[in-house]
Amino acid sequence: LKTNDMIQNLSQNLAPVQKFSLGFKNYALAAAVAFACIGAGVAINGVRFNFNIIALTPHYIFECLLLLGLAVSSVSLAFQLSLPGDIKKSTWSFFLATLLGWAFLTVYLLFNYNKPVADWGFHCSEVVFFTSLIPAAVLFLTVKSAAVLNRAKTGFVIWAGSAALGALVNQVICPSEDPMHLLIWHVLPVFIIGFLGTGLAKLVLKRI
């Protein structure tokens, strides 16, 4: 097929299209879903017994801010990735800085770790996974009708960011301060779920 013939085929009977844009409405929906899921997670599991003490410690506050930043930047980045064009480097940097910053912070805490076995915490991973489901589904549905070029990256960003909400729930419900527990049952699941997102995106998002 010659390019000119293809152009003629494409431009014949051209129908008007409804412009797709992502704006305040989409961010507001993402924020509402995120808050609802965090609220539901905390309501179902209950607040940790030592919350009053731990909530005032600098590393706890910093960790929560990192997770919040990760969730917010993932929405912004996913929306940017869903439309062809330049992606702000600052958004990528912020996303990676929060994700890796959180992981490194937990690894750093391990230096003072001297327990032989980490606290068991499969439930924490379940919380991360189940909390991430609805926010990830909402984001996938939002970007599905856009034109995602890099589906793998978009999938990772969406699901890792949504899983960060689950990790945020864990910050409120999980009483363990054992760094090994945090690394295995809080941090690792976010990365694993993010990688699952790369595969899911290839199934869910159409290739343009």
């Binding site: 152009i7 494409l10 009977n13 008007p16 343009i208």
Partner: protein, 182 residues
């Protein structure tokens, strides 16, 4: 090259989004010329260049609803084009002539080599026959008949990207079934 086209392309795309066929045709023609000039530095093979331009035009068509006049048309277009170039590079890297192909056409004077070659060819053909009918046809047209991807797509009534995917999978299947041989 970029700034002089920006306004024209943006204006034509806005009209095209409203359903104006002639603006759209003009836009695609201009864009294809622009892409050919722009991508020639990256892709020297004229056939591959044509493929990337066509793939990009198809992607532009599919995602034309996502162009927003607040943003640069050229950035929007080039993001798609770069993605398609990378896609082509990825596919051609995976799809590069395999050792398997080279060994089939490898000429040797010795009788033993001839026999081995014949045996290998038979096994390859047998493996090809075991592929699903559609994969078989695409592979034969591409690799044996030496047709272009666009021609195979037209003959088999498939999209070009579908042809690439099918042929890639067929080669993978062949590699898997002939793994011990080559």
């Amino acid at each position: 090259l970029i700034s002089s086209n920006e306004k024209l392309f943006a204006q034509l795309m806005i009209e095209a989004q409203k359903g104006d066929s002639s603006s759209y045709e003009t836009l695609l023609k201009e864009v294809s010329l622009f892409l050919k000039r722009y991508l020639r530095q990256k892709i020297s093979d004229s056939e591959q260049l044509e493929d990337v331009v066509q793939e990009t035009l198809l992607a532009v068509h599919k995602s034309r609803h996502t162009y927003n006049s607040d943003r640069s048309f050229i950035s929007w277009l080039l993001a798609i084009a770069h993605y398609k170039v990378n896609d082509l590079l990825r596919i051609s890297y995976k799809f590069k002539p395999t050792e398997l192909d080279e060994s089939i056409v490898d000429e040797s004077d010795s009788q033993l080599d001839e026999l081995l070659k014949k045996e290998k060819t038979e096994q390859v053909m047998k493996a090809v026959e075991s592929l699903p009918a559609k994969n078989q046809m695409v592979l034969k047209l591409l690799k044996i008949e030496g047709l272009k991807i666009s021609e195979v797509a037209r003959l088999c009534n498939l999209s070009e990207s579908n042809v690439k995917v099918i042929s890639f999978r067929a080669v993978q299947d062949l590699k898997a079934s002939l793994g011990g041989l080559f």
